[in-house]
Every structure is written in C-alpha cells, then in structure tokens.
C-alpha cells in the first residue's frame, strides 16, 4: 500500500485524522451515556439508548477495522472468513436469546385448552 513517499504522507494524514475521529466518537459515547438530556426513551438504559450507544461503537469499530486494520485493502478471502464468523456469532447470540424468549408456557393449561376445544358446542 504505502510505497511512494507521497502516498505514505497521505496515509499518515489519514491515520491521524481517523485517530482524532475516534477520540471524538468516544466523547460522544460518553456524553450519550452520562448526560441526562441525551437519555432517549424512558429514564435509564432502555433499548433506544442501547441502540444509539452501540451504533456509535459500531461506527468506531468499523473505522478501526477498515482503516487501521487495512480491511479496505484486503481481498475477498478475509472478507468471506469474517463474514461467516460474524454470521455464526450472530447465530450464537440471536438463537440463544430466541430460545430464552420462547419457553414452554402452558404446560398444564394445554390439557384444559384441548379439553375445552373438544367440549366446545359447535
């Protein structure tokens, strides 16, 4: 990537700029977390706050990954690997939550429900 001196100088500027942006975003995250009027939704950490706070993190993380880790220069192979990794991570996270949110609720009532359905006058 950084082969000619001009290009290197350009890269340096880019890296410094990204560094500053990251610092700025960190301050934004702190402000979102701690300043009362930036607390969206009901008071406390509700899903609105979590969504906004984590999107700031995602922006920061993608800056680090794309620029500092040169993902923007990589070929497809790394992308494919990371894509699958990310998919499996999402699977692990979402399916466990899905399982948590979907317990068997009416173990005893099911019987009565079925009975009720059978006895229901048409």
């Amino acid at each position: 990537m950084a082969d000619s001196p001009e290009e290197i100088a350009k890269h340096k500027k880019l890296y410094a700029a990204i560094g500053i942006w990251l610092l700025v975003f960190s301050c934004v995250a702190l402000a979102l977390g701690k300043i009362t009027w930036l607390d969206f939704g009901p008071p406390g950490a509700t899903w609105e706050d979590i969504l906004i706070g984590l999107s700031v993190s995602v922006v920061k993380a993608s800056l680090v990954a794309l620029i500092f880790m040169h993902l923007n220069h990589e070929k497809g192979l790394i992308y494919k690997t990371l894509l699958f990794t990310f998919l499996f991570f999402l699977g692990l996270m979402s399916l466990t939550l899905f399982a948590l949110a979907d317990p068997i609720r009416e173990s005893f009532d099911t019987l009565n429900t079925v009975k009720g359905m059978l006895n229901r006058p048409n």
Binding site: L77, F84, L95, T96, F98, L100, D102, P103
Partner: protein, 647 residues
Amino acid sequence: MSELAAHSHGEVHDDHDHHEAPFWKQYVFSTDHKVIGIQYGFTALLFLAFGFFLMMVMRWSIAYPDRAVPVLSDWPWFQAWLDNEGRVTGDLYNMFGAMHGTIMVFLGIVPLAFGAFGNYVTPLQIGAPDMAFPRLNMASFWCFLLGGVLMFVSFFLPSGAAKVGWTNYSPLATTTDLNFSSQFWTGQTQWLVGMVFLISSSLLGAVNFIATIINLRCRGMTWMRLPFFVWAMMVTGFLLLLAFPPLEVAAIMQIMDRLGGTSFFVPTGLNVNGLAFDAAGGGSPLLYQHLFWFLAHPEVYVLILPAIAIVSEVIPCNTRKPLWGYKSMVYAVMALGFLAFIVWAHHMYMTGMGPAISTFFQTTTVLISVPSVILITSLLISMWGGSIRFNPAMLFATAFIPMFGIGGLTGLPLAFNLPDLHLHDTYYVIGHFHYVVAPGTIFGLFAGIYHWFPKHTGRQMNTMLGHLHFWPSLICMNGIFAPMFLQGMAGFHRRAFDGGAAYEQISSSILAEPGTFVAGVFEKLRIVGEGQPVEMIDLNIVTSTFAWLLALAQVPFIINLFASVYVGKKVTSDNPWDATTLEWATPTPPPHGNFTTEPVAYRGPYEYSVPGADTDFTPQFEDDPGIVKKEPAKRDDKVSSEDSTKA
C-alpha cells in the same frame, strides 16, 4: 529413518547449516509436521486405549452390578473407589463415564483424526514443504499433551476425576466436589483447566491448517484439484476455529464459578444438600448448555469429517475409479460445515424450549442430513463397477459406509423433539452416536493407518493380521451397539450404573418369551435360566461380552502396527498403492521438507482408469500430456515461483 536424518535441513532458522539435529530436536521437540503427526497419533492411540479401558470397567458394572470387579479390585487406586465387596460404586461409574466421553472425543479421536492424519497428510497432499507455522504446530501438540496430562492426573487427586458427564453441565458441575479445601486441585476444576489447554491447542492447530491449505498449495494445485481429504480438513479446521471459542468461554466462566465464586451458571435460590448455596445467584444453567453445544455439535462433524476424508482417499485408490461426484462432495462438505453451526439446540429439547425455536432447530437438523447423505452416497457410487482390491484399508473403508449409515439414520428420530423426549438420555442415543464414531470414525481411522503406513515406514502392514483385526472388530462393534437400540427404546437410562436393574423392578420388558429361538440361544449361553423369558436387561451381558471381545480383537492390530515397522514386507516403489495424489510423489519416508523436486499438480486428484492411458492411474504429479490435455497455467503458477525465490 536414516534417510529422514539425511534429508533433514535443520531448523527453520535462517542459518542453513546441514548438521544433523540432536535427537530431542528431531523426534521430541520437532517442528516437522510428520513427526508431530506421529506424536499426535501415538498419544491419541494411548488415550483411546485408556478410554476403552474405562469403558470396559463400566460395562462390568452394567452387566454384573452385584459382583466384584475381576483383576482390578486389588489395585490400590481402585480400592478407594470400589465398595467393600469390590463392586463398582456409582461415583466410580460416573467418573469413568465422564472421562470416557472426554478422553475419547477430545484426547482420542480429534487428535488422531485431525492432529495426526491432518498433520501428516495435508501438507504432503498440497505439495507444501511443511505447515505454514511449524513452531506453532509444535506448540499446539505440547499444549494438547499438557491438557491431556492434566486430565489423566486428575484421576489421582483425592477428589478423583470429573464425574458429571462429558457435558459437565452446571449447576451440578459447579457444586460437585465442594468439600475439598483446595478447589483448584479437584477433578472438576482440572477438567476445565485441561479443556482450556485442549481448546487452545485445537485453535492453534486450526489456524495452522487453514493457513497452510490456503497459502501453501503448490504450483497448479487449484481449489478444484485439491484432494477431498484436504477439503474436509479445511472445513474441519473452520469448525474448530469458530466453534471452540464459545466452549472456552464456558470453561472460563465455569472456572470462575468454581474458584471465583461467581454465579454465571448458578440460578437464584439454589440449594445443595439442603443448604442454601452461598452465591449471589442470577445465573443461567441454560447458558452453559448453549455455549457447550455450540461447540459440541460441530464437534460431531469434527469427529466424522476426517474419517469421511480418509475413506474418500482409500476408496478411489482401491476401486481404481475416480471419486464419484467430487464437486458435489466438496459443496456438500461446505454446506455441512455451515449447517453444523445452527443445529446445536437439538441436544436441548428437554430444556423446555418453546415450539417456535424447536421448529427452527428441527428444520436445520433435518436439513443437515442432506449433505451427509450426498457424501455417503457419492462414496457408495464410487465403488459401483470398480475392480476392488480388498486390502485391510479398503475393508475398513467399506465397512465405514454402512456403519456410518446406521448411525446417521438412527439419528433421524432424535432430530424431532417428540420422539426425542422419549429417547433422550437412553441407550438409544448411546447406540446412535457410537455407531457414528466407533465403527464409523474409528474404522475410517484404521483405514487411514493401513493406507498410509507404507508411506512412513517403507513397509507394508500384514494383510492376514489386518483381516484378523477387521472381521472380529466388525462383529463386536455391531454386537455392542445394536442391542443398545432395543434397550433404549425400552427406556433404559444411560446413567444407571447398575445397568437398569432398578428400572427392571418397576417395569419388566420382555425381549423373547421362553421357548422361542432367541430364548433358546440365551439359555444355551447361560445368560438366563431354563424356562425364563429373556428380558431387556439380559442384553447387558451380551453387550459387555462383545465389548471385552473387541479389546481382544485389537491385539492383532497392535502386533501388526509394531512388528510391521521391523519385519513388514518392504515396498518396492514410493507409490505402492498406485495412487494419484501428491503424497506418493515424495521419497519413502518423506524427508524434512518433504519433496526432493518442486511438486506441480497437473490435473485433478482422482484420475484413475483414464481411457486410453497406459496405466490405470494418472498421478497428479506426472507431467504426461499424452492422454489428458495439460491445462494452461493458472494465475498463481508463474508468480509463486518468483515470489518464493524472492523470499
């Protein structure tokens, strides 16, 4: 062996002195992938034998719960764990059960299949001089050995080894062995620490394998010219790479629970032995199961894929026919690898999952049988119409197919939650997955040993002893696992250390009425008394007897393995099986650095019986443009040689 030393180029260091490396560097702390492969292999075989021994003791307890264990009851270690009459106690059974599973899976089959065969064969088949990171490879082996030693040593701690099943479910795993003042030196904790080492070893290994396969393929070795073995190894590598970390997390969290007093997996209000458990609570036992099975289901494919891979090398070679449906097999194995990650909760139907999530996991579970069937069917069709050489390797490979088939098909009822509720934790499950891994995977591994033995030693293994090994093994394997289906459907629970005697008292399940043929046979064998019906529980004795016979059936193999190194028939060429893949292009045995000339792959891996060819095999490495048109050089061909010179 002397050749190996002669070809040794010393270490990977930059100084190219041609001194002979000292013994410990050549055979103990070696970075040569072949030596590491052999190290893995021997360690794994030892652990397999040990795991088998544990199982034989358990089978005694199941078959004869009221009799003293023969021979062992005088050993000092056993004294502490047997009761006054010398019988197996529940604690001992639990310990052996848990450690049998752990040792067989993590210390036996995975190291043998992935560590040994993967390490030995993969770089040879892709034409690489070694793995991409030889020193990492060595670290991976020693990490594995450390984990294994910790597991083994835990037997001799006052607490004994882990005893809550190979799954180590919390909160039982968290609260067991709490009565020891040093919590670190208990079997439960050592299991976790050992697992962390084993997992780290597997992760390092997986990184190494994938990097090697992607980056070190030789000239002309394009993706679709890779032998199927290499494809399977790559998918296995990805399974290990991405599925193992969650279990490492679970192990770390359970260590925290045991040593740090946290309550990741301890629910609020837990009582142990009638006393409130002194922890904050608020954790979730289900979380552990999710994290565990997120690994442990892909682990099943880690166990089976290398075996399929070996078999798919042995079969084309010995049928003298190309592998049928090579491309579909490659895509199938990739699909299998992907689906393996999203089926794990079918092990958890009993945890009270609701209908929606159950439906999801049932669907994916049934879907995964499609690629599995593609693989098996392709192998089966590959044999169709071939002129088959039934040498011992081929025998094992052939037997692999129906055995794995039985294991796979009996898994279908378990994929659906309704039958699973009935069959869960019964002997049916044991039979099912043992058909997959015992006569399945282990037969595949035996096939591999017979197949590649001449490459490493320059001598053939004895065919007669091979037959003596194969046929009794096949019979015994079926004798062990087939009755388990019957017992399982009758409701025998796998964790009953008396083999279901207690269960029999409340419900008798008759296998055969007196007077029938089966009852006659059982009578003749003195398993049941005269005029007695044969009950399900009597099958325990049959199963156990076959298990002990299986141990005897391995004796010819052990003799064969060691004796053939010295007295086996010498091979006359570097390619004794007339095979086509690149590993047969190396000298025998392959020196450090593998190839004497730069290997080039000119064609696909399974060019057997090409019409019009002089011989019935056309190796990948032979530049013989007579029959097959030589394909134009691929993108990488020229560049790679340039780069390697520059480097």
